[in-house]
Symmetry: C2
Subunit: 460 residues, 2 copies
């Protein structure tokens, strides 16, 4: 008898799950239907700032796979503009609203994947619903912003929130010739970095001409004829023709919670090793699903496309009759801002403290290529390292071309719970166009190990 | 009482050992003398092709630290143009020849570091001593080649041997406007790579206009008035005004062997975990010292600056009264040739076979950035993977900008004996300017794991 898989959410996690399930089970064995309330399936949300900044010219490039392709190539019925509004676990069905026709239907399932993604944190402030204030989570947001830029020709942009997406949007607006202000309530942008590394990012932003207002919580918005005119902080009012909320997201779990699917302490849907929820045959993956941080051991909610793709794949393998488990995350992330590259993995100092670690940090300076090689540039590497053991807990990198991807070697080391002492001897690659003979990663580990040993002597 | 450390060889391994020993023991406790038969200490031999190709303009940039600096900053007495011609283990002394004055002296030691480096394999062919035929191992070689290029204005260059240094020298000559032929006796250049990946390198060379003659052993040289005029292979005679022997090196161990210091089966000086030879107080590091390949478990002789620096550091820590062990190598190496990047780590197919592994290989294609991002380019990744277990045994990468350094993540995985199944889930970094959402490393691991599983099904 043919079973039926229903997927809620048509982006990375949901469609990866659908694809993997299809790979293992044919259409006669498993019918697959995916509901997406937006207009697009499987797209690169991370590409949006580059599209809006005219770095990537073709909008269609951001779409990895269209509903037509899912249907034709994989016999997956992906329905856009269809919103799932309720899950009935007893009846094993979902209620789906067709956003075009406004009609509703009941759709049964044998397997269900909850991939409802993240929900942007919209501050409950006066005027936040004014025209010209945008989130930037979905391709539909990108379409709306592009339309506004073309039709309304805004001159002054204010980006609220100095996370990856906020910084990337600030740069995109700069590239489009707007005057850009970035408002961040923390003392520096990029709160996933330590303050000293975040300050390097702040300097880079200022260097590009972005007006940076840190330690300034937004208190409200000014509007004129229903269109945004200003952003009010606790220190000033910034003129604004367009505002982007580059704020963090929370797991979008209302649907799951209402249905009775257990939610974890991180706020994400609780899942087991195979990414099944506590309800048999109901799975969850992506930004809405809880993950374990491998370093802290804590359940966390992190919204990253890399995790969503991996989790979707794991859920899909299991639904398809295979066996796979998801081993957790490090929170590795990277971004290119204002000609600089920034990357992080594992725990920053605050996170290490919260997790109960005793730790030390070591910041080292090196170069991306041999010091004498054309195009070489400075790279700053900060390691967070457990005291006594010297175990790596986290890493942050700031530099220019060739800097960011070095975080991957450190992520691999972190994944394997290596000590910095052990990392020093790892046989990493070297040639003058790519690295000094001691790669910056090894130099960072050497410096951190020296520091651990010194402090160890003090502790005795 | 002041002890005395004598170092034989003033490049990476020897001077790293000297520096680390000095860091731990002051001049009143340990006198340090280093003898180098060439004219330079601590230099970047890997930078030579870039200097000769006019990519790096200033010769002095290749010198990391001069004898004057060693003396002034570290109280290390580094004597260039001093060749150690004998070691007397009973008397704990070395015989040193001053190459300028031709005088000899006897120098006692308490600790001795044998860092005599590699010895270029010079084919025993007619005419190999003709003027215009150069090795390219030391800075003195670089000086000689540059002088010849400037004074004799050669037009036709022949490079013999298609290893890293051979390919880099071929490119350097191209950049200097010479007509370049590369002769390699194997079917393709880069024998440390599998033939199919080596062929990609061969195509890149041809694309640059290098005349590539593979499967052609050199049988002799033609000379005119004592100056090289041609390279004779078993198929043709190539016109040559300058010839570079980009051939492999062997550990330079005659001095140690003659003295009675045991040599290992790889041909390198035998050392223990702390890099001490079988003689108390006599240490060895760098190209002349035997290493253990962590994947095959075999003793090997590999000449790489990264190893030399690491081993020198380990020996120096131990001589300095600290404790450190050298955990072996993977043979990670990389090169930039003709606008392409190539890298490898661990075992290639032939090495895996020799080590007794049952294995499979998987080659995957991806891109260095998100597929839609400007500047993205193809990257080919080949993994060598143990059958059944799926354990990674080796990796090879070929691509353009951003390709090579990805070998480091794989080297870290290999170091930790990860399976490709485990690698797939590692939290590597992603942003459109740096990678597709599934990094090429993860895509390679996915493909390899699929293949292992398929073959596993066949094996059952």
């Amino acid at each position: 008898m043919t079973e039926r898989l229903v997927v809620i959410g048509g982006d990375a996690a949901g469609m990866s799950a659908a694809s993997q399930a299809r790979k293992r089970r044919g259409p006669e064995d498993l019918e697959i239907v995916a509901f997406e309330r937006g207009n697009f399936t499987s797209y690169s949300a991370c590409g949006i700032p580059y599209y809006l900044g005219d770095v990537v010219e073709d909008f269609d490039d951001l779409i990895v796979r269209s509903p037509e392709k899912f249907r034709d190539k994989q016999q997956i019925d992906a329905r856009v503009r269809h919103e799932v509004v309720a899950i009935d676990l007893d009846a094993r069905s979902v209620t789906v609203r067709n956003l075009a026709s406004k009609s509703e239907s009941i759709e049964g399932f044998d397997h269900l994947v909850v991939a409802t993604g993240g929900k942007p944190v919209r501050p409950p402030l006066d005027g936040v619903e004014a025209r010209g204030i945008f989130g930037v989570q979905t391709l539909d947001d990108a379409v709306a912003i592009e339309k506004f830029l073309q039709n309304e020709k805004p001159k002054h942009a204010v980006v609220i929130g100095g996370g990856y997406i906020g910084l990337e949007m600030a740069e995109a607006f700069q590239l489009r010739g707007l005057d850009v202000a970035l408002v961040e309530r923390s003392p520096q942008p990029m709160v996933t970095l330590d303050p000293d590394i975040g300050e390097l990012v702040a300097e880079a932003m200022r260097g590009l001409g972005v007006h940076l207002y840190s330690s300034e919580p937004v208190t409200g918005f000014e509007a004129k004829d229903g269109r945004v005119a200003g952003v009010v902080t606790d220190a000033r009012t910034l003129h604004a023709d367009i505002v982007v909320l580059g704020l963090s997201t929370r797991p979008n779990v209302e649907l799951a919670r209402t249905a009775g699917i257990p939610i974890g302490e991180s706020g994400g849907v609780k899942v087991d090793q195979r990414l099944q929820t506590e309800i048999e045959g109901v799975w969850s993956a992506g930004d809405c699903a809880e993950k374990i941080n491998r370093v802290s051991g804590k359940p966390v909610a992190i919204a990253l496309g890399t995790h969503a793709n991996k989790e979707g794949r794991i859920a899909g393998i299991n639904i398809g009759g295979g066996y796979a488990t998801f081993p957790g995350v490090l929170g590795t992330a990277t971004s290119k801002v204002c000609g600089y590259e920034v990357a992080r993995t594992g725990l920053n100092s605050e996170e290490a403290r919260d997790a109960g670690f005793e730790f030390t940090t070591a910041t080292s300076e090196s170069t991306t290529r041999a010091g004498y090689f054309p195009g070489t540039s400075p790279i700053t590497t900060k390691l967070v390292v457990e005291q006594r053991s010297g175990r790596l807990l986290g890493a942050q990198i700031f530099g220019k071309e060739g800097a960011a991807k070095r975080i991957d070697g450190l992520a691999m080391a972190l994944w394997n719970e290596m000590t910095v002492d052990a990392i020093v001897n790892v046989d990493l690659s070297y040639a003058p166009p790519f690295a000094p003979v001691w790669d910056p990663v090894l130099i960072a580990a050497r410096k951190a190990w020296d520091k651990v040993q010194l402090e160890l002597a003090d502790l005795r």
